[in-house]
Symmetry: C2
Subunit: 630 residues, 2 copies
Amino acid sequence: MPPGYNGKILRINLSTGSRSVEEPSEVFYRTYFGGRGFNAYFLMKELKPGVDPLGPDNKLIFSTGPITGHPVSGNGRNSVGAKSPLTGAYGEGDVGGFWGAELKHTGFDAIIVEGKSPAPVYLWVHNGEAEVRDAARLWGLDTAPVNDALQAELGDKQLKVAQVGPAGERLVRFAAIMNDVTRAVGRTGMGAVMGSKNLKAIAVRGRKTPPVADREAMRAQAKWLSDNMMELNGGLHTHGTDDGLIGLSITGGLPTRNFQEGTFERAEDITGSTMTKTILTGRHTCYACAVICKRIVKTGPPYNVDPAYGGPEYETCAALGSCCGIGDLEAIAMGNQRCNAMGLDTISTGTVIAFAMECFEKGLLTREDTGGLELRFGNAEAMLQTIELIGKRRGIGDLLAEGVARAARQIGRGAEQFAMHVKGQELPMHEPRIKHGLGLGYSVSPTGADHVHNLHDTDYEVEGSPRFEAAKSLGILEPVPFNDLGPEKLRLFIYHVNWQSLMNCVGLCIFPAWRYLRTVELVRSITGWNTSLFEMVKVGERMNTLCRAFNVREGFSAADDTLPERFFQPFADTKPTTAPLDRRVWEQAKLAYYYGMGWDENGVPTRDKLGELNLEWVIEEMEKAAIPLP
Amino acid sequence: MPPGYNGKILRINLSTGSRSVEEPSEVFYRTYFGGRGFNAYFLMKELKPGVDPLGPDNKLIFSTGPITGHPVSGNGRNSVGAKSPLTGAYGEGDVGGFWGAELKHTGFDAIIVEGKSPAPVYLWVHNGEAEVRDAARLWGLDTAPVNDALQAELGDKQLKVAQVGPAGERLVRFAAIMNDVTRAVGRTGMGAVMGSKNLKAIAVRGRKTPPVADREAMRAQAKWLSDNMMELNGGLHTHGTDDGLIGLSITGGLPTRNFQEGTFERAEDITGSTMTKTILTGRHTCYACAVICKRIVKTGPPYNVDPAYGGPEYETCAALGSCCGIGDLEAIAMGNQRCNAMGLDTISTGTVIAFAMECFEKGLLTREDTGGLELRFGNAEAMLQTIELIGKRRGIGDLLAEGVARAARQIGRGAEQFAMHVKGQELPMHEPRIKHGLGLGYSVSPTGADHVHNLHDTDYEVEGSPRFEAAKSLGILEPVPFNDLGPEKLRLFIYHVNWQSLMNCVGLCIFPAWRYLRTVELVRSITGWNTSLFEMVKVGERMNTLCRAFNVREGFSAADDTLPERFFQPFADTKPTTAPLDRRVWEQAKLAYYYGMGWDENGVPTRDKLGELNLEWVIEEMEKAAIPLP
């Protein structure tokens, strides 16, 4: 068994109560690495095609990576995978906090949850043991009380909880799984899958740290980042991920009023430095991370925001803020609290509400539809009430809980033009019109509109910027403009998107300034493998192709690699730094991406590429499903 | 300018006598690295399509790489490129010795020779200066006297000479350029191109060592190899490259009697350890290399072999030995001397003579054709006399000097079945029937049958072998059988062939046991670039694709990616370790290679791949030549 890992994967069937422990080979570990790698492997291998994402045949997989749980900044990540109830495609949410590291310390690298419990249960996983326990009294509760209840019931204040809130129980299609109350497995509705299995929570506690191949080398790397943290990541530390909001607004790329505009007149009120000066009461971290970019906030009346629910990230400030036209930071913090309490993805929630606001303003939704809510941009109260309605699937919330794609279809009358989604997943708070590569990434991501395995193509245009300098290791030798989809951008896009895919396999956060080569060194020091940037980008490529194959088996094609029409049009408030995408260029870039990935013109992975990527077994799976491969 | 390089390329036009110095950008250097990278770049950019390889419009380029000339084992390589008179395709010979390092020390990274001198000349390049000087009195001389004459004429015993012998002057299509008398730029007839330009020699002398980014790191690497040389490269040191001949014979993969057999009954007589015990008088090295794998041999009558001409490599012992059925090591050493003296590639020479012997034995050539020579396998005297005839283009030698492909066409009556070549270049001494990947490599190499940018697919089947362990850095995680062309082999093949292509760009020998990651570290320490295995494999891929594009422009297609029929048949003396290739499997593997490289089913690089590899300019060149691209 390679150092860095436990070598054990726990499998639990909630229908039967059966448990087993699998010990895959080292070749398996080095082929898939962990996280997304494990998720996609087991989902492709074990799910029947066409399975109901909310039925007992879906599987929900919690996976760590080789770095998760080791004391280096950014290690505290885990990945959760299942077929997505939001997109119907490969689903994945990636998350930080303490839960992933604690899972690693239980002696397991991953947990595969199968079946469906007849009644609410939770799992208690500790030091190599696993129990299924009754959760009746927890069902319906918000996340913080459940967290407290489990720590009390199990008599361990140090145990960590991943759980669904009321939103997941009610199968809101973009329900999150909450780690440590404050960190969301936000994207693609993993919380709904967990809720559908009547699984309220997984509590973990462990004291096993897997061996490390070269502890000294690992520590030297960790020390380098800690020693240079303020220089490398000072903004993130001081003002959190929301630090950059104001800059985006100035350059015209801040999603505002459902992506109609790129500059928000109240951006100053909701940016990170303002949070620091106003509602911030503390900074928080993930396991063993020196960056400490998490926020703790508290307010007085009217919201009385509770610091137990953390504080809003950039995504939340933009999604519940500028995207809804709201410049009230305390209201945003309250929205964040309610999303974390009920287990809702703040990104999809914000984009869904912004969609509803645009529909309301344009007459496609009326006060009758909204139960009297004046659902206009800028109405913070309406935003907060809509969150409640969604989390509880009441009134208009029941419709919106289906996500923008389904809601728009149901509303009809052109509402789809206001639905900012790809493959049914709502857009995160990064504007394609200031990052053309990211827009392409939304289109082709296996998870729909997603920023977590995507290119953020700013800074690469700046000679000497850390991003550009790091990208030289990939052979990107000349600055690349952000609003561009030329060959240089496509090269960067393909290489980097594969790298980001790998990042969701290793269990490392993108925020600490490790970048490419230091990440390779971390994996080398922890696992003892003679791995390289070449091998690791290939692992990422393998996983992008495996996820693609999963989606092809589920009936997805190039026609599903879309981007909302809005991004091919200029903003209402266009700035010189922004530019709409050109549809012809974007179509060509999509094709170039397919070919660059070794897929055909329909985006279907070729047999040769599957062979090259050590995915011969996928050819067999596709043949079983009668899916023709080029 | 990046450390490691001079930043200057010398260009000389022999028709006009004009000289110029170019100073390419750092981006150019990092995109192409050197060696093959420079050669292929300038040939694609500057040669008119369809140019006569032996006419004044061909260009002959001598290129070093970033490692060439720096004091680490294996650095003493340079690459020579031109359109090949043997194949009509991209031509390249790679060579060790001292000349390449000395060129680097003159202050130039490469020399581009254009045009044709009206009379014999040589170049004298020293410390940033270049002179064209009269070579009338050297014309027709063997290499050792020319070397001595130039050192005397220029008054410097330390200068180094690259030159053609009588064979190059007479445009023997497989004439070599000889570095330091004893080291051959053997393949693809670069000596004929040099001869066609009336360029007898290039003498170089310099004392400029380019700066090194991190000298301490470079020295630490150099020390590691020196300290561990006997353990890592002991066989090579003790018995030379010919050390492995006996093993190949035992396992049945030693080219014998024109590849009819794989085991040679007199292998023991011509293997490296026998050489050590008999004719070896000294060991020699290339510039600053601790491996010291070169041989010096001497014999008494009848041959009186002169130690000035070095000693035979494995390739020579097999080509002039087993492949001609000859087990007389002294005769082989004499053949080596005459090839080095006249400037002949011993590989092509041996394969040509073996072809002639088979034709003679099978009645396609008669004593009348051979001028009375009894040209039978095992006849050492006939072998030696044929070398003389070829080098001087006399009698049967004039026909054989055209290479096996042209000679076979002229002989007709089925002689082509005995012509062991791909694209007109004769096979080196590595048997496809014991290395299926290498066989595929012969087929698809831009230079025809070539072992220098190819996969040697033995040892990868052995768990724990240095080759297999090193290949894990490429993600090759499970042992790969040698006689196989399955997906695991193809993956290894594609990655490794791109790597070998890169090796001919960096100016590093494959013999010292640097392998993948230490080579990356060397380039990092010398250049200061934050390069990676990813970037360096991409450089190799870029060059394979660029050479391919060159050949497509010259009219080559998938139909030229052949392998002699013999290799699809079992040996006369098949052993269990050997197996013929299966034509269907080989055809499929060829296609998989094309697709894996981003080429179409005809082996034509796609526009998208050219774009991804930063070769957009090649698209323009192809359009100028009216070559359609997929």
